[in-house]
Protein backbone atom coordinates (compact mmCIF):
# COMPACT_ATOMS: atom_id res chain seq x y z
CA UNK A 1 0.00 0.00 0.00
CA UNK A 2 1.74 3.14 -1.15
CA UNK A 3 1.25 6.36 0.78
CA UNK A 4 0.02 8.34 -2.20
CA UNK A 5 -2.62 5.80 -3.06
CA UNK A 6 -3.77 5.54 0.55
CA UNK A 7 -4.19 9.32 0.72
CA UNK A 8 -6.15 9.37 -2.54
CA UNK A 9 -8.44 6.60 -1.23
CA UNK A 10 -8.86 8.50 2.02
CA UNK A 11 -9.85 11.74 0.31
CA UNK A 12 -12.21 9.82 -1.97
CA UNK A 13 -14.06 8.35 1.00
CA UNK A 14 -16.44 10.99 2.41
CA UNK A 15 -17.20 9.08 5.62
CA UNK A 16 -13.49 8.65 6.42
CA UNK A 17 -12.91 12.37 5.87
CA UNK A 18 -15.96 13.20 8.01
CA UNK A 19 -14.69 10.90 10.77
CA UNK A 20 -11.22 12.40 10.74
CA UNK A 21 -12.69 15.93 10.78
CA UNK A 22 -14.96 15.24 13.75
CA UNK A 23 -12.09 13.61 15.60
CA UNK A 24 -9.63 16.44 14.97
CA UNK A 25 -12.23 19.01 16.07
CA UNK A 26 -12.61 17.26 19.42
CA UNK A 27 -8.88 16.72 19.82
CA UNK A 28 -8.29 20.42 19.13
CA UNK A 29 -11.11 21.35 21.53
CA UNK A 30 -9.58 19.16 24.22
CA UNK A 31 -6.03 20.44 23.75
CA UNK A 32 -7.05 24.10 23.75
CA UNK A 33 -9.80 23.72 26.38
CA UNK A 34 -8.12 26.14 28.83
CA UNK A 35 -8.02 28.78 26.10
CA UNK A 36 -11.45 28.39 24.51
CA UNK A 37 -13.67 27.19 27.37
CA UNK A 38 -15.78 30.05 28.78
CA UNK A 39 -15.07 28.83 32.32
CA UNK A 40 -12.70 26.56 34.21
CA UNK A 41 -15.33 24.21 35.64
CA UNK A 42 -12.97 22.88 38.31
CA UNK A 43 -12.00 26.28 39.71
CA UNK A 44 -14.28 26.20 42.74
CA UNK A 45 -13.74 29.92 43.37
CA UNK A 46 -15.76 31.01 40.35
CA UNK A 47 -18.66 28.57 40.64
CA UNK A 48 -21.86 29.98 42.03
CA UNK A 49 -24.92 28.01 43.06
CA UNK A 50 -27.00 30.92 41.84
CA UNK A 51 -26.07 29.75 38.31
CA UNK A 52 -27.08 26.12 38.91
CA UNK A 53 -29.29 24.13 36.51
CA UNK A 54 -29.64 26.87 33.91
CA UNK A 55 -31.00 25.63 30.55
CA UNK A 56 -29.15 26.24 27.25
CA UNK A 57 -28.92 29.86 26.16
CA UNK A 58 -31.65 29.68 23.50
CA UNK A 59 -34.26 28.46 25.99
CA UNK A 60 -36.26 30.51 28.45
CA UNK A 61 -34.12 31.11 31.53
CA UNK A 62 -30.87 30.53 29.63
CA UNK A 63 -28.12 33.03 30.31
CA UNK A 64 -24.78 34.08 28.81
CA UNK A 65 -22.06 32.85 28.94
CA UNK A 66 -23.62 29.40 29.59
CA UNK A 67 -24.12 28.36 25.98
CA UNK A 68 -25.27 24.82 26.76
CA UNK A 69 -26.62 25.46 30.28
CA UNK A 70 -25.19 24.60 33.69
CA UNK A 71 -25.22 21.61 36.07
CA UNK A 72 -26.30 21.32 39.72
CA UNK A 73 -23.20 23.13 40.96
CA UNK A 74 -23.42 25.97 38.44
CA UNK A 75 -20.70 24.52 36.19
CA UNK A 76 -20.89 25.51 32.55
CA UNK A 77 -21.83 22.39 30.58
CA UNK A 78 -19.84 23.31 27.46
CA UNK A 79 -16.67 23.96 29.47
CA UNK A 80 -17.07 20.73 31.43
CA UNK A 81 -17.50 18.82 28.15
CA UNK A 82 -14.27 20.32 26.75
CA UNK A 83 -12.34 19.44 29.91
CA UNK A 84 -14.02 16.03 30.00
CA UNK A 85 -12.86 15.29 26.43
CA UNK A 86 -9.35 16.15 27.59
CA UNK A 87 -9.54 13.42 30.23
CA UNK A 88 -11.20 10.89 27.90
CA UNK A 89 -8.60 11.38 25.17
CA UNK A 90 -5.72 11.27 27.67
CA UNK A 91 -6.94 7.94 29.06
CA UNK A 92 -7.45 6.53 25.55
CA UNK A 93 -3.99 7.63 24.37
CA UNK A 94 -2.49 6.25 27.58
CA UNK A 95 -4.09 2.83 27.13
CA UNK A 96 -3.21 2.58 23.44
CA UNK A 97 0.37 3.45 24.34
CA UNK A 98 0.77 1.15 27.39
CA UNK A 99 -1.34 -1.80 26.22
CA UNK A 100 -0.17 -1.36 22.62
CA UNK A 101 3.53 -1.43 23.49
CA UNK A 102 3.28 -4.33 25.90
CA UNK A 103 0.96 -6.27 23.60
CA UNK A 104 3.26 -5.69 20.62
CA UNK A 105 6.30 -7.01 22.49
CA UNK A 106 4.39 -10.07 23.72
CA UNK A 107 2.85 -10.74 20.30
CA UNK A 108 6.21 -10.46 18.56
CA UNK A 109 7.90 -12.81 21.02
CA UNK A 110 5.04 -15.31 20.88
CA UNK A 111 4.81 -15.28 17.10
CA UNK A 112 8.51 -15.26 16.32
CA UNK A 113 9.85 -17.70 18.90
CA UNK A 114 6.75 -19.89 19.50
CA UNK A 115 7.10 -22.64 22.08
CA UNK A 116 6.59 -21.98 25.78
CA UNK A 117 6.25 -18.20 25.60
CA UNK A 118 3.71 -18.57 22.81
CA UNK A 119 1.66 -21.03 24.87
CA UNK A 120 1.65 -18.76 27.93
CA UNK A 121 0.78 -15.59 26.01
CA UNK A 122 -2.00 -17.26 24.05
CA UNK A 123 -3.55 -18.91 27.13
CA UNK A 124 -3.52 -15.56 28.94
CA UNK A 125 -4.97 -13.91 25.87
CA UNK A 126 -7.81 -16.47 25.71
CA UNK A 127 -8.68 -16.06 29.37
CA UNK A 128 -8.50 -12.26 29.43
CA UNK A 129 -10.42 -12.03 26.20
CA UNK A 130 -13.26 -14.23 27.39
CA UNK A 131 -13.50 -12.39 30.70
CA UNK A 132 -13.62 -9.10 28.74
CA UNK A 133 -11.74 -5.91 29.47
CA UNK A 134 -14.88 -4.21 30.77
CA UNK A 135 -15.62 -6.90 33.35
CA UNK A 136 -12.00 -7.10 34.52
CA UNK A 137 -11.73 -3.32 34.79
CA UNK A 138 -14.91 -3.08 36.87
CA UNK A 139 -13.66 -5.81 39.23
CA UNK A 140 -10.07 -4.57 39.50
CA UNK A 141 -11.03 -0.94 40.05
CA UNK A 142 -13.87 -1.89 42.40
CA UNK A 143 -11.54 -3.95 44.58
CA UNK A 144 -8.60 -1.51 44.44
CA UNK A 145 -10.68 1.42 45.62
CA UNK A 146 -8.08 3.70 44.01
CA UNK A 147 -9.06 6.34 41.51
CA UNK A 148 -7.16 8.49 39.04
CA UNK A 149 -6.10 8.70 35.42
CA UNK A 150 -3.00 6.55 35.88
CA UNK A 151 -4.80 3.82 37.85
CA UNK A 152 -7.50 3.76 35.19
CA UNK A 153 -4.98 3.44 32.34
CA UNK A 154 -3.18 0.59 34.10
CA UNK A 155 -6.38 -1.23 35.09
CA UNK A 156 -7.66 -1.16 31.50
CA UNK A 157 -4.25 -2.06 30.02
CA UNK A 158 -3.98 -5.04 32.37
CA UNK A 159 -6.22 -7.03 30.02
CA UNK A 160 -6.41 -4.82 26.95
CA UNK A 161 -2.89 -5.68 25.72
CA UNK A 162 -4.08 -9.09 24.50
CA UNK A 163 -5.87 -7.44 21.54
CA UNK A 164 -2.52 -6.22 20.24
CA UNK A 165 -0.63 -9.39 21.14
CA UNK A 166 -3.13 -11.59 19.27
CA UNK A 167 -3.13 -9.47 16.15
CA UNK A 168 0.62 -9.10 16.00
CA UNK A 169 1.19 -12.78 16.66
CA UNK A 170 -1.11 -13.69 13.77
CA UNK A 171 0.61 -11.24 11.45
CA UNK A 172 4.07 -12.45 12.48
CA UNK A 173 3.12 -16.09 11.90
CA UNK A 174 1.99 -15.22 8.38
CA UNK A 175 5.02 -13.05 7.62
CA UNK A 176 7.47 -15.62 8.99
CA UNK A 177 6.65 -17.92 6.09
CA UNK A 178 7.31 -15.27 3.44
CA UNK A 179 10.26 -15.68 1.13
CA UNK A 180 11.91 -12.42 2.10
CA UNK A 181 12.26 -13.61 5.70
CA UNK A 182 13.92 -16.81 4.54
CA UNK A 183 16.17 -14.70 2.35
CA UNK A 184 17.14 -12.52 5.31
CA UNK A 185 17.90 -15.62 7.34
CA UNK A 186 19.90 -17.10 4.49
CA UNK A 187 22.15 -14.05 4.31
CA UNK A 188 22.78 -14.49 8.05
CA UNK A 189 20.67 -11.70 9.57
CA UNK A 190 20.20 -12.06 13.33
CA UNK A 191 16.79 -12.65 14.90
CA UNK A 192 16.38 -9.20 16.42
CA UNK A 193 17.34 -7.59 13.12
CA UNK A 194 14.81 -9.71 11.24
CA UNK A 195 12.12 -8.79 13.77
CA UNK A 196 12.78 -5.05 13.72
CA UNK A 197 13.62 -4.55 10.05
CA UNK A 198 11.45 -7.10 8.29
CA UNK A 199 8.66 -8.47 10.47
CA UNK A 200 7.48 -5.41 12.41
CA UNK A 201 7.06 -2.98 9.48
CA UNK A 202 4.90 -5.52 7.66
CA UNK A 203 2.77 -6.20 10.72
CA UNK A 204 1.96 -2.52 11.28
CA UNK A 205 -1.20 -2.15 9.10
CA UNK A 206 -3.37 -4.66 10.98
CA UNK A 207 -2.10 -3.18 14.25
CA UNK A 208 -3.27 0.28 13.20
CA UNK A 209 -6.83 -1.01 12.78
CA UNK A 210 -6.72 -2.62 16.23
CA UNK A 211 -5.36 0.58 17.78
CA UNK A 212 -8.06 2.72 16.13
CA UNK A 213 -10.89 0.44 17.25
CA UNK A 214 -9.34 0.15 20.71
CA UNK A 215 -9.15 3.93 21.03
CA UNK A 216 -12.92 4.19 20.62
CA UNK A 217 -13.58 1.24 22.92
CA UNK A 218 -11.42 2.76 25.68
CA UNK A 219 -13.20 6.12 25.43
CA UNK A 220 -16.53 4.34 25.95
CA UNK A 221 -15.03 2.21 28.72
CA UNK A 222 -13.66 5.21 30.63
CA UNK A 223 -17.07 6.89 30.44
CA UNK A 224 -18.78 3.68 31.57
CA UNK A 225 -16.44 3.16 34.53
CA UNK A 226 -16.76 6.79 35.63
CA UNK A 227 -20.53 6.53 35.23
CA UNK A 228 -20.57 3.47 37.51
CA UNK A 229 -18.46 5.32 40.08
CA UNK A 230 -15.35 3.12 39.88
CA UNK A 231 -13.46 5.17 37.25
CA UNK A 232 -12.25 8.70 37.82
CA UNK A 233 -12.52 10.61 41.10
CA UNK A 234 -15.08 13.45 41.31
CA UNK A 235 -12.23 15.96 41.05
CA UNK A 236 -11.48 14.92 37.44
CA UNK A 237 -13.77 16.17 34.66
CA UNK A 238 -15.32 13.20 32.86
CA UNK A 239 -18.13 12.82 30.34
CA UNK A 240 -19.30 9.63 32.06
CA UNK A 241 -19.55 11.34 35.41
CA UNK A 242 -21.42 14.31 33.89
CA UNK A 243 -24.03 11.91 32.56
CA UNK A 244 -24.19 10.12 35.90
CA UNK A 245 -24.93 13.46 37.62
CA UNK A 246 -27.42 14.38 34.90
CA UNK A 247 -29.26 11.11 35.42
CA UNK A 248 -30.57 12.42 38.76
CA UNK A 249 -32.38 15.18 36.88
CA UNK A 250 -33.95 13.08 34.11
CA UNK A 251 -37.42 13.29 35.67
CA UNK A 252 -37.00 17.01 36.26
CA UNK A 253 -36.63 17.51 32.51
CA UNK A 254 -33.01 18.77 32.65
CA UNK A 255 -32.18 16.96 29.42
CA UNK A 256 -29.15 19.13 28.53
CA UNK A 257 -27.14 17.55 31.35
CA UNK A 258 -27.26 14.22 29.46
CA UNK A 259 -27.81 15.04 25.81
CA UNK A 260 -24.79 17.35 25.28
CA UNK A 261 -22.11 15.23 26.97
CA UNK A 262 -23.78 12.22 25.31
CA UNK A 263 -23.42 13.80 21.88
CA UNK A 264 -19.77 14.67 22.54
CA UNK A 265 -18.98 11.13 23.70
CA UNK A 266 -20.78 9.52 20.74
CA UNK A 267 -19.28 11.92 18.20
CA UNK A 268 -15.70 11.13 19.25
CA UNK A 269 -16.33 7.39 19.07
CA UNK A 270 -18.20 7.64 15.74
CA UNK A 271 -15.30 9.70 14.36
CA UNK A 272 -12.65 7.16 15.29
CA UNK A 273 -14.83 4.24 14.13
CA UNK A 274 -15.29 5.83 10.70
CA UNK A 275 -11.53 6.16 10.38
CA UNK A 276 -11.10 2.57 11.59
CA UNK A 277 -13.61 1.31 9.00
CA UNK A 278 -11.71 3.06 6.22
CA UNK A 279 -8.39 1.65 7.46
CA UNK A 280 -9.81 -1.86 7.62
CA UNK A 281 -11.10 -1.79 4.05
CA UNK A 282 -7.88 -0.18 2.83
CA UNK A 283 -5.89 -3.04 4.31
CA UNK A 284 -8.15 -5.95 3.40
CA UNK A 285 -8.27 -6.18 -0.41
CA UNK A 286 -10.68 -9.11 -0.30
CA UNK A 287 -13.49 -6.97 1.09
CA UNK A 288 -12.80 -4.26 -1.48
CA UNK A 289 -13.10 -6.71 -4.30
CA UNK A 290 -16.44 -7.86 -2.92
CA UNK A 291 -17.70 -4.28 -2.58
CA UNK A 292 -16.83 -3.43 -6.14
CA UNK A 293 -18.13 -6.73 -7.51
CA UNK A 294 -21.44 -7.14 -9.36
Amino acid sequence: MSRGRALRHFLGDPSAVAGATILSLFVAGAIFAPLIAPQNPYDLGILSLADSLKPPIWMEGGEAPFLLGTDEQGRDVLSTILYGCRTSLTVAFGVVLVAGTFGMVMGLLAGFYGGFIDAVVMRLADVFYSFSTTLMAILVLGLLKQKGVLVLVLAISLTDWVRYARTLRGAVLAIKEEDYINAARAVGAESHRIILRHVLPNAVPPLLVVAAVDFGVVIMLEATLSFLGVGLPVTEPSLGMMISIGRKYVYAGKWWLIVFPGIALTAIVVGINLVADWLREEINPRIQKAVKGP
Binding site: S130, L135, I138, G142, V230, G240, G262, L265, V269, A290
Partner: protein
Protein backbone atom coordinates in the same frame (compact mmCIF):
# COMPACT_ATOMS: atom_id res chain seq x y z
CA UNK B 1 -12.84 -34.85 19.94
CA UNK B 2 -13.05 -36.60 23.34
CA UNK B 3 -9.40 -35.91 24.11
CA UNK B 4 -9.84 -32.33 23.04
CA UNK B 5 -12.79 -31.81 25.40
CA UNK B 6 -10.90 -33.40 28.28
CA UNK B 7 -7.93 -31.10 27.61
CA UNK B 8 -10.16 -28.05 27.46
CA UNK B 9 -11.88 -28.98 30.72
CA UNK B 10 -8.42 -29.42 32.26
CA UNK B 11 -7.37 -25.97 31.09
CA UNK B 12 -10.64 -24.53 32.40
CA UNK B 13 -10.02 -26.07 35.82
CA UNK B 14 -6.53 -24.56 35.81
CA UNK B 15 -7.99 -21.11 35.16
CA UNK B 16 -10.56 -21.67 37.92
CA UNK B 17 -7.73 -22.59 40.28
CA UNK B 18 -5.98 -19.31 39.43
CA UNK B 19 -9.26 -17.42 39.94
CA UNK B 20 -9.76 -19.17 43.28
CA UNK B 21 -6.27 -18.13 44.36
CA UNK B 22 -6.94 -14.49 43.50
CA UNK B 23 -10.24 -14.72 45.35
CA UNK B 24 -8.45 -16.24 48.33
CA UNK B 25 -6.03 -13.33 48.43
CA UNK B 26 -8.92 -10.84 48.23
CA UNK B 27 -10.75 -12.73 50.94
CA UNK B 28 -7.81 -13.15 53.29
CA UNK B 29 -6.04 -9.83 52.91
CA UNK B 30 -8.76 -7.33 52.09
CA UNK B 31 -10.80 -7.41 55.27
CA UNK B 32 -10.88 -9.88 58.13
CA UNK B 33 -12.11 -13.30 56.94
CA UNK B 34 -13.36 -14.09 60.42
CA UNK B 35 -15.76 -11.21 60.09
CA UNK B 36 -16.63 -12.49 56.67
CA UNK B 37 -17.80 -15.84 57.93
CA UNK B 38 -19.28 -14.80 61.25
CA UNK B 39 -21.05 -11.71 59.96
CA UNK B 40 -20.68 -8.08 60.94
CA UNK B 41 -22.63 -8.39 64.20
CA UNK B 42 -20.85 -11.42 65.64
CA UNK B 43 -19.81 -11.46 69.30
CA UNK B 44 -16.06 -11.71 70.17
CA UNK B 45 -16.64 -15.30 71.28
CA UNK B 46 -18.19 -16.25 67.94
CA UNK B 47 -15.28 -14.54 66.17
CA UNK B 48 -12.75 -16.57 68.14
CA UNK B 49 -14.60 -19.77 67.23
CA UNK B 50 -14.59 -18.88 63.55
CA UNK B 51 -10.87 -18.00 63.67
CA UNK B 52 -10.09 -21.41 65.10
CA UNK B 53 -12.38 -23.12 62.63
CA UNK B 54 -10.71 -21.26 59.75
CA UNK B 55 -7.27 -22.13 61.04
CA UNK B 56 -5.90 -18.60 60.66
CA UNK B 57 -2.89 -19.63 62.75
CA UNK B 58 -1.96 -22.28 60.18
CA UNK B 59 0.53 -21.78 57.31
CA UNK B 60 -0.50 -20.01 54.10
CA UNK B 61 -0.99 -23.09 51.91
CA UNK B 62 -3.08 -24.87 54.52
CA UNK B 63 -5.32 -21.83 54.71
CA UNK B 64 -5.64 -21.84 50.93
CA UNK B 65 -6.61 -25.53 50.92
CA UNK B 66 -9.26 -24.86 53.54
CA UNK B 67 -10.58 -21.98 51.44
CA UNK B 68 -10.70 -24.30 48.40
CA UNK B 69 -12.54 -26.96 50.36
CA UNK B 70 -15.15 -24.45 51.48
CA UNK B 71 -15.41 -23.00 47.97
CA UNK B 72 -16.03 -26.45 46.49
CA UNK B 73 -19.03 -26.75 48.78
CA UNK B 74 -20.24 -23.35 47.61
CA UNK B 75 -19.45 -21.90 51.03
CA UNK B 76 -18.01 -18.41 50.66
CA UNK B 77 -19.20 -17.08 54.00
CA UNK B 78 -21.94 -14.67 54.98
CA UNK B 79 -22.71 -11.44 53.21
CA UNK B 80 -21.71 -8.55 55.46
CA UNK B 81 -24.81 -6.64 54.51
CA UNK B 82 -27.66 -9.13 54.47
CA UNK B 83 -26.03 -11.68 56.86
CA UNK B 84 -27.19 -14.49 54.59
CA UNK B 85 -24.86 -17.00 52.89
CA UNK B 86 -23.25 -15.17 49.97
CA UNK B 87 -24.04 -18.00 47.54
CA UNK B 88 -27.72 -17.81 48.42
CA UNK B 89 -27.75 -14.03 47.94
CA UNK B 90 -26.22 -14.41 44.46
CA UNK B 91 -28.48 -17.28 43.40
CA UNK B 92 -31.58 -15.30 44.38
CA UNK B 93 -30.56 -12.68 41.85
CA UNK B 94 -29.71 -15.17 39.10
CA UNK B 95 -33.15 -15.48 37.42
CA UNK B 96 -33.44 -11.70 36.88
CA UNK B 97 -30.03 -11.50 35.20
CA UNK B 98 -30.54 -14.66 33.17
CA UNK B 99 -33.91 -13.56 31.80
CA UNK B 100 -32.48 -10.17 30.86
CA UNK B 101 -29.37 -11.65 29.22
CA UNK B 102 -31.35 -14.31 27.31
CA UNK B 103 -33.79 -11.76 25.96
CA UNK B 104 -30.94 -9.46 24.93
CA UNK B 105 -29.04 -12.29 23.22
CA UNK B 106 -32.18 -13.34 21.37
CA UNK B 107 -32.71 -9.81 20.05
CA UNK B 108 -29.02 -9.35 19.20
CA UNK B 109 -28.58 -12.64 17.32
CA UNK B 110 -31.90 -12.50 15.42
CA UNK B 111 -31.58 -8.92 14.22
CA UNK B 112 -27.78 -8.87 14.04
CA UNK B 113 -27.50 -11.87 11.72
CA UNK B 114 -30.77 -11.15 9.86
CA UNK B 115 -29.94 -7.54 9.06
CA UNK B 116 -26.33 -8.48 8.31
CA UNK B 117 -27.47 -10.85 5.55
CA UNK B 118 -29.95 -8.27 4.24
CA UNK B 119 -27.25 -5.61 4.02
CA UNK B 120 -24.73 -7.91 2.33
CA UNK B 121 -27.11 -8.70 -0.53
CA UNK B 122 -27.48 -5.10 -1.67
CA UNK B 123 -24.73 -3.10 0.05
CA UNK B 124 -25.42 0.12 -1.84
CA UNK B 125 -29.19 0.41 -1.44
CA UNK B 126 -30.52 3.27 0.69
CA UNK B 127 -31.96 0.82 3.24
CA UNK B 128 -28.57 -0.87 3.63
CA UNK B 129 -26.86 2.47 4.09
CA UNK B 130 -29.38 3.42 6.75
CA UNK B 131 -28.87 0.11 8.57
CA UNK B 132 -25.09 0.50 8.42
CA UNK B 133 -25.31 4.05 9.79
CA UNK B 134 -27.46 2.66 12.59
CA UNK B 135 -24.95 -0.07 13.31
CA UNK B 136 -22.18 2.53 13.47
CA UNK B 137 -24.18 4.33 16.16
CA UNK B 138 -24.77 0.97 17.84
CA UNK B 139 -21.06 0.36 18.33
CA UNK B 140 -20.35 3.99 19.22
CA UNK B 141 -22.92 4.73 21.92
CA UNK B 142 -21.93 3.29 25.31
CA UNK B 143 -24.53 0.99 26.90
CA UNK B 144 -25.24 3.26 29.86
CA UNK B 145 -26.03 6.17 27.55
CA UNK B 146 -28.35 4.02 25.40
CA UNK B 147 -30.23 3.04 28.56
CA UNK B 148 -30.61 6.59 29.85
CA UNK B 149 -31.71 7.89 26.45
CA UNK B 150 -34.31 5.10 26.15
CA UNK B 151 -35.59 6.02 29.63
CA UNK B 152 -35.76 9.70 28.67
CA UNK B 153 -37.74 8.93 25.51
CA UNK B 154 -39.99 6.01 26.39
CA UNK B 155 -40.47 6.44 30.13
CA UNK B 156 -40.20 10.18 30.84
CA UNK B 157 -41.45 11.77 27.60
CA UNK B 158 -43.85 9.24 26.10
CA UNK B 159 -44.71 7.47 29.40
CA UNK B 160 -45.07 4.20 27.49
CA UNK B 161 -42.79 1.92 29.48
CA UNK B 162 -41.63 1.78 33.10
CA UNK B 163 -38.14 3.26 33.76
CA UNK B 164 -36.89 0.87 36.44
CA UNK B 165 -37.38 -2.38 38.32
CA UNK B 166 -38.64 -5.76 37.24
CA UNK B 167 -42.36 -5.29 37.78
CA UNK B 168 -44.65 -8.17 38.69
CA UNK B 169 -42.94 -11.52 38.95
CA UNK B 170 -44.48 -14.96 39.24
CA UNK B 171 -42.92 -17.75 41.24
CA UNK B 172 -42.11 -20.55 38.82
CA UNK B 173 -40.41 -23.17 40.96
CA UNK B 174 -38.17 -23.03 44.03
CA UNK B 175 -36.64 -19.57 44.13
CA UNK B 176 -37.11 -18.89 40.44
CA UNK B 177 -39.30 -15.84 39.98
CA UNK B 178 -40.00 -15.00 36.36
CA UNK B 179 -41.11 -11.76 34.72
CA UNK B 180 -42.06 -13.49 31.48
CA UNK B 181 -45.55 -14.48 32.56
CA UNK B 182 -47.14 -11.12 33.29
CA UNK B 183 -47.70 -8.26 30.86
CA UNK B 184 -46.33 -5.93 33.51
CA UNK B 185 -43.16 -8.02 33.82
CA UNK B 186 -42.65 -8.04 30.05
CA UNK B 187 -43.16 -4.28 29.85
CA UNK B 188 -40.40 -3.86 32.43
CA UNK B 189 -38.10 -6.13 30.45
CA UNK B 190 -38.34 -4.31 27.09
CA UNK B 191 -36.11 -1.28 27.73
CA UNK B 192 -33.32 -3.08 29.64
CA UNK B 193 -33.22 -5.91 27.09
CA UNK B 194 -33.03 -3.43 24.20
CA UNK B 195 -30.26 -1.53 25.99
CA UNK B 196 -28.22 -4.65 26.65
CA UNK B 197 -28.68 -5.97 23.12
CA UNK B 198 -27.81 -2.82 21.13
CA UNK B 199 -24.04 -3.08 21.17
CA UNK B 200 -23.96 -6.83 20.54
CA UNK B 201 -26.54 -6.48 17.78
CA UNK B 202 -24.39 -3.92 15.99
CA UNK B 203 -21.21 -5.99 16.38
CA UNK B 204 -22.91 -9.16 15.06
CA UNK B 205 -24.50 -7.24 12.19
CA UNK B 206 -21.16 -5.84 11.04
CA UNK B 207 -19.45 -9.19 11.42
CA UNK B 208 -22.16 -11.04 9.48
CA UNK B 209 -22.06 -8.42 6.72
CA UNK B 210 -18.26 -8.55 6.41
CA UNK B 211 -18.25 -12.38 6.37
CA UNK B 212 -21.11 -12.59 3.86
CA UNK B 213 -19.55 -10.03 1.51
CA UNK B 214 -16.26 -11.86 1.52
CA UNK B 215 -17.91 -15.19 0.85
CA UNK B 216 -20.35 -13.89 -1.78
CA UNK B 217 -17.27 -13.04 -3.88
CA UNK B 218 -16.01 -16.64 -3.79
CA UNK B 219 -16.03 -18.88 -6.84
CA UNK B 220 -18.31 -21.55 -5.36
CA UNK B 221 -21.02 -18.94 -4.77
CA UNK B 222 -20.76 -17.86 -8.39
CA UNK B 223 -21.13 -21.51 -9.33
CA UNK B 224 -24.22 -21.79 -7.15
CA UNK B 225 -25.77 -18.75 -8.85
CA UNK B 226 -24.79 -20.11 -12.28
CA UNK B 227 -26.49 -23.41 -11.48
CA UNK B 228 -29.67 -21.39 -11.07
CA UNK B 229 -30.19 -22.21 -7.39
CA UNK B 230 -32.85 -20.08 -5.68
CA UNK B 231 -31.58 -17.03 -3.81
CA UNK B 232 -32.69 -18.44 -0.45
CA UNK B 233 -30.59 -21.53 -0.97
CA UNK B 234 -27.48 -19.65 -2.11
CA UNK B 235 -27.64 -17.11 0.69
CA UNK B 236 -28.54 -19.30 3.62
CA UNK B 237 -27.28 -22.74 2.71
CA UNK B 238 -24.07 -21.90 0.87
CA UNK B 239 -23.00 -18.49 2.09
CA UNK B 240 -24.37 -17.92 5.59
CA UNK B 241 -23.25 -21.30 6.84
CA UNK B 242 -19.64 -20.33 6.25
CA UNK B 243 -20.08 -16.71 7.25
CA UNK B 244 -21.51 -17.87 10.58
CA UNK B 245 -18.24 -19.32 11.88
CA UNK B 246 -16.70 -16.00 12.96
CA UNK B 247 -20.15 -14.91 14.17
CA UNK B 248 -20.45 -17.92 16.46
CA UNK B 249 -16.90 -17.32 17.70
CA UNK B 250 -17.88 -13.78 18.50
CA UNK B 251 -21.06 -14.84 20.32
CA UNK B 252 -18.93 -17.26 22.33
CA UNK B 253 -16.30 -14.67 23.14
CA UNK B 254 -18.87 -12.04 24.01
CA UNK B 255 -20.35 -13.75 27.05
CA UNK B 256 -17.87 -11.94 29.28
CA UNK B 257 -18.81 -8.70 27.58
CA UNK B 258 -22.51 -9.52 28.00
CA UNK B 259 -22.01 -10.09 31.72
CA UNK B 260 -20.03 -6.85 32.02
CA UNK B 261 -22.69 -4.85 30.20
CA UNK B 262 -25.43 -6.50 32.25
CA UNK B 263 -23.78 -4.87 35.29
CA UNK B 264 -24.13 -1.51 33.54
CA UNK B 265 -27.68 -2.12 32.30
CA UNK B 266 -28.87 -3.40 35.68
CA UNK B 267 -27.42 -0.30 37.33
CA UNK B 268 -29.17 2.07 34.92
CA UNK B 269 -32.55 0.33 35.27
CA UNK B 270 -32.18 -0.72 38.92
CA UNK B 271 -32.83 -4.24 37.69
CA UNK B 272 -32.62 -6.59 40.69
CA UNK B 273 -30.01 -8.92 39.15
CA UNK B 274 -26.51 -10.12 39.98
CA UNK B 275 -24.73 -7.19 38.31
CA UNK B 276 -26.64 -4.68 40.39
CA UNK B 277 -25.80 -6.75 43.48
CA UNK B 278 -22.09 -6.81 42.56
CA UNK B 279 -21.90 -3.05 42.27
CA UNK B 280 -23.57 -2.51 45.66
CA UNK B 281 -21.25 -5.18 47.10
CA UNK B 282 -18.25 -3.25 45.73
CA UNK B 283 -19.39 0.00 47.32
CA UNK B 284 -20.23 -1.71 50.63
CA UNK B 285 -16.96 -3.75 50.63
CA UNK B 286 -19.02 -6.93 50.88
CA UNK B 287 -16.06 -9.25 50.14
CA UNK B 288 -17.91 -12.60 50.37
CA UNK B 289 -20.48 -11.51 47.78
CA UNK B 290 -17.76 -10.16 45.45
CA UNK B 291 -15.74 -13.38 45.68
CA UNK B 292 -18.82 -15.53 45.09
CA UNK B 293 -19.79 -13.42 42.10
CA UNK B 294 -16.30 -13.72 40.55
CA UNK B 295 -16.24 -17.49 41.02
CA UNK B 296 -19.75 -17.94 39.70
CA UNK B 297 -19.18 -15.78 36.64
CA UNK B 298 -15.86 -17.51 35.88
CA UNK B 299 -17.51 -20.93 35.87
CA UNK B 300 -20.29 -19.65 33.58
CA UNK B 301 -17.87 -18.02 31.11
CA UNK B 302 -15.53 -21.03 30.92
CA UNK B 303 -18.38 -23.52 30.43
CA UNK B 304 -20.03 -21.42 27.74
CA UNK B 305 -16.75 -21.05 25.87
CA UNK B 306 -16.31 -24.80 25.85
CA UNK B 307 -19.87 -25.25 24.66
CA UNK B 308 -19.30 -22.86 21.74
CA UNK B 309 -16.14 -24.71 20.73
CA UNK B 310 -18.07 -27.97 20.60
CA UNK B 311 -20.86 -26.27 18.63
CA UNK B 312 -18.32 -25.39 15.94
CA UNK B 313 -18.02 -28.97 14.90
CA UNK B 314 -21.69 -29.07 14.06
CA UNK B 315 -21.60 -25.87 12.03
CA UNK B 316 -18.45 -26.69 10.12
CA UNK B 317 -17.67 -30.34 9.53
CA UNK B 318 -14.24 -29.32 8.21
CA UNK B 319 -13.09 -28.61 11.77
CA UNK B 320 -11.63 -31.65 13.46
CA UNK B 321 -10.18 -31.39 16.91
CA UNK B 322 -7.23 -33.56 17.72
Amino acid sequence: MGAYIVRRIGQGLLVLLAVSFICFVIFQYMGDPAWALAGRYATPKQLEMVRQKLGLDKPFYVQYLIFLKNALRGNFGMSFVSRLPAMQVILERLPATLELALMAMLIAVTFGVGLGVLVSVSPHSPVSRLIMAGSLLGISVPTFLTGILLIMIFAVELRLLPPFGRGEVVRLFGNWRTGFLTWNGIKHLILPALTLSTYQLAVLLRLTRAGMMEILGEEYIKTAWAKGLPQRSVLFKHALRNALIPVVTMIGLQFGELIAFSIVTETVFQWPGMGNLLLSAIFESDQPVIVTYITFVSIVILSLNLLVDILYVFINPKIRYV
